[in-house]
């Protein structure tokens, strides 16, 4: 069964330093993977997606993620954190059951950015 595991429930960085949010996936075939972001008391916004094209995926707001099949990972990175990046981030995998696809979410990583 397809699933994702977010390895850190909380990550703290200082403004201007790099961000790394880790996600491992489990899938019997090449999956579709996504990262979503949720700012406090807001809905969810798609950051980026991987659908078996380029393994390095660029998203909005300077984020990018690299699909590594050998490591079954899809980590999210950003070279320099900004205060506005403070939010909860979800790694997501597409799951197919009964012929229809749905999205399965990881448990989330809260990114804290300090001045």
């Amino acid at each position: 069964a397809q699933s994702v595991t977010q390895l850190d429930s909380h990550v703290s960085v200082s403004e201007g330093t790099p961000v790394l949010l880790r996600c491992n996936y489990s899938s019997s075939y090449s999956p579709s993977l996504f990262w979503y972001v949720q700012h406090p008391n807001k809905g969810l916004q798609l950051l980026l997606k991987y659908t078996s094209a380029a393994t390095l995926v660029k998203g909005i707001n300077g984020f990018e993620a690299e699909f590594k099949k050998s490591e079954t990972s899809f980590h999210l990175t950003k070279p320099s954190a900004h205060m506005s990046d403070a939010a909860e981030y979800f790694c997501v995998v597409s799951v197919t059951n009964s012929g229809y696809s749905t999205l399965t979410f990881g448990k989330g990583t809260m990114l804290l950015v300090s001045p």
Partner: protein
């Protein structure tokens, strides 16, 4: 979010009462989904719909039912609300099952069962 509206935005209800949440879209998308969000659990799928009157269960469907009588509306009903159903509920839509394009989410409904 543009094209998808959830109502109500907030609701407080008593244990044992029925509750219906509404999701309305103007995008004419085929697929609609209901998720609940709880701390430490991320988002979990309750039910989804792949067409008018076509629905299926998700990971946490017990205690919930859904209906979709027209493309634009997807209703989630708690037949007899319990405190464990206190949560934030999100509706989502997609036009191709979400595999390649992900979902568009509504702004959520915060439900409190007392």
């Amino acid at each position: 979010d543009a094209g998808i509206t959830q109502s109500p935005r907030h609701k407080v209800t008593e244990t044992g009462t029925p509750v219906t949440l509404r999701c309305h879209q103007t995008e004419n998308h085929r697929y609609m989904y209901w998720y609940r969000q709880d701390p430490g659990h991320g988002l979990r799928l309750i039910h989804y719909s792949y067409g008018v009157k076509d629905t299926d269960k998700g990971e946490v469907s017990d205690g919930y039912s859904v209906s979709r009588s027209k493309t634009e509306d997807f209703l989630l009903t708690l037949e007899s609300a319990t405190s464990s159903q206190t949560s934030v509920y999100f509706c989502a839509i997609s036009d191709q099952g979400g595999v390649h394009y992900g979902y568009t989410f509504g702004s959520g409904t915060r439900l409190t069962v007392v």
